[in-house]
């Protein structure tokens, strides 16, 4: 496996993409990995995007920029449009079809729908659990680099309530990808 892993999560403000990036980063710290995470925000007020860029490595990390993300989680059409072309052929785009209606079929990378919002409403009656579902799916995709247990542990540490529902949503997301 190559040493440097880049993960980008981007969507609207309030979807928890910064929290997602931070959870992955905290899990990586627990495993003794080096981590950087940049959060871009401030533009969400004007209908832009919120983005977290996470880099994981065994070695000290130079550039904290995710110029070619291994995984890109797109939670809004604007985010998808803006970053889809940065994903290299061997990378993967995970997108929520509730927000990303039009998919660019010309891309070389794999693209996988993750209906996190619909699943959250269907199984847990609340869209806010989409965040946990997305994290579960990312955790599956990052297996071999991040331990699932560490990701879940880092996630639950900062969740004040609905711990059981969040755990179940995480597991549901984990099962959505293979």
């Amino acid at each position: 496996m190559k040493d440097r892993t880049e993960i980008v999560a981007s969507g609207f403000g309030g979807q928890g993409v910064v929290r997602l990036g931070q959870t992955l980063g905290e899990a990586a710290v627990k495993q003794g990995l080096r981590v950087t995470m940049l959060k871009s925000h401030g533009t969400e007020m004007r209908g832009g995007y919120v983005r977290s860029q996470v880099v994981l490595s065994q070695k000290p990390i130079d550039s904290p920029m995710c110029e070619n993300p291994d995984v890109f989680l797109a939670l809004s059409a604007a985010a998808y449009k803006r970053f889809k072309d940065t994903v290299p052929p061997e990378g993967l785009i995970l997108y929520d079809p509730a927000f990303v209606a039009e998919v660019d079929t010309g891309l070389k990378c794999r693209q996988k729908p993750l209906p996190a919002k619909d699943l959250a409403v269907k199984h847990f009656k609340r869209p806010l659990f989409a965040n946990a579902i997305a994290l579960g799916a990312l955790s599956r995709l990052l297996e071999g680099r991040l331990d699932k247990d560490k990701v879940l542990e880092s996630f639950l540490e900062v969740i004040p309530k609905y711990k059981e529902e969040n755990r179940a949503a995480f597991e549901l997301g984990y099962r959505q990808v293979e």
Binding site: Q22, G25, E26, A28, V29, L33, R34, V35, T36, M37, L38, K39, S40, H41, G42, T43, I61, D62, S63, P64, M65, E67
Partner: protein, 391 residues
């Protein structure tokens, strides 16, 4: 040692506390606000004081006051606040008051863009106040972890040189998150190369000796030593005087205590792939240097003889690092070109000095690779219609 996923602001706060800082006075401004917030949380826990001033000018003056009373003090801001430091910065330089000033650069001029990184204050940090006749010391970390050490170093230098020290960061360093190791014991601090110097006070009566000597304790109020300090040219006892000879002595001290003691910080730079006299040396500081390092690694993997020189000590400018005649590429977060002017001045005769500027975002690796390739092939640079050499 404790490890956290935290921001540069957290690292800077912990570094300041480890260095003995017990007074912070600030004024909210993006992207230094979170540093003030972290200080407001942490300082009382260690018996320190956080105050919010009426403006940045007052903030630094309150730090001066606290330092005059014997507390290690710090303030932090971004460009639009840094210009309001002009007044107190001059006072602190003239009266030789130790303190640490942090400027987290964003995009200017004026308020510009708040949430994006910029490097528009390279020269402003050299001349943060009017009047001349002084040297300044400016340190620029490129990561959250390093910013902790640099802040500790800044406090150390401020005590030994008896002057304010500026830490020039940028929005990505202060707001960005990283895994950060915080030492918990003095031994761990030593292992990490943290240098700490205790505060002492001057007993007079010659409070402003006209020498370049290190370690002259700062002038302090409250010990009834007859200490005097003012904004005017001082006599050695601190009286105000309008005599050119006294001014000359004062200026000599302000300039040469720094110039003649550069050994305290002259090793503060990073070289990568510089051992084999590279054909192209990429010069940068702060966050862009991290992209440069990645790009230079990649260039080497592709057989290009490129090296990277990253400055931590920006001022006094380390001329000696540019003695070799070669091609230099200066990468910085502004469109007007600031660092590049200094490199051009310092570079050995016959060197070529080129500029690659971006602002609000970091340079990308493909852009850097393309620039390296063109320069090594002696092709002209241009991008987005901007003549990059035109500065």
């Amino acid at each position: 040692m404790k490890r956290f996923l935290e921001t540069g602001n957290f690292a800077i706060t912990e570094g300041a506390i480890l260095a003995g800082c017990r007074f912070f006075c600030g004024y909210p401004i993006t992207p230094a606000t979170e540093l003030a917030e972290a200080m407001s949380l942490r300082l009382p826990q260690v018996g320190g004081v956080y105050l919010q001033a009426e403006d940045e000018c007052a903030a630094m003056h309150l730090c001066i006051g606290a330092s005059l009373g014997g507390m290690k003090s710090m303030t932090a801001t971004s460009g639009p606040g840094f210009i309001l430091y002009a007044d107190p910065y001059g006072w602190a330089l003239g009266c030789e008051t130790p303190m640490v000033v942090l400027n987290s650069g964003r995009v200017g001029p004026v308020s510009g863009i708040t949430g994006a990184p910029g490097q528009g204050e390279f020269y402003l940090t050299r001349y943060p106040t009017q009047g001349g006749n002084f040297e300044t010391v400016v340190l620029a970390p490129n990561s959250a972890q390093e910013s902790m050490k640099v802040v500790v170093d800044a406090f150390y230098l401020s005590e030994r040189l008896r002057m304010p020290i500026t830490v020039l960061a940028d929005q990505l360093i202060t707001d960005g998150m990283e895994d950060i190791s915080v030492p918990e014991t003095e031994e761990e601090m030593k292992e990490m190369g943290f240098r700490v110097w205790p505060r002492s006070y001057h007993r007079g009566p010659d409070f402003y000796p006209a020498t370049d000597a290190l370690d002259i304790p700062p002038v302090q109020m409250g010990h009834n030593t007859g200490a005097l300090c003012s904004d005017w040219t001082p006599t050695e006892e601190g009286y105000d005087i309008e005599e050119v000879e006294a001014h000359h002595k004062h200026a000599y001290r302000l300039i040469y205590k720094v110039r003649n003691n550069r050994h305290l910080f002259s090793d503060m730079h990073e070289k990568r792939h510089m051992g084999d006299d590279p054909d192209l040396v990429v010069v940068s500081f702060g966050t862009p240097s991290r992209v440069v390092n990645t790009a230079v690694d990649r260039a080497r993997a592709e057989g290009l003889k490129v090296g990277a020189l990253r400055l931590i000590n920006l001022w006094p400018f380390p001329d000696e690092l540019f003695r070799r005649r070669t091609t230099y590429l200066v990468v910085e977060l502004n469109w007007d070109g600031q660092l590049v002017r200094e490199v051009q001045r310092a570079a050995a005769e016959g060197s070529k000095v080129h500029f690659l500027g971006v602002c609000g975002d970091l340079p990308t690796i493909p852009d850097l690779m393309e620039t390296f390739t063109k320069l090594l092939k002696n092709q002209p640079l241009s991008r987005k219609g901007w003549e990059l050499e035109a500065w």
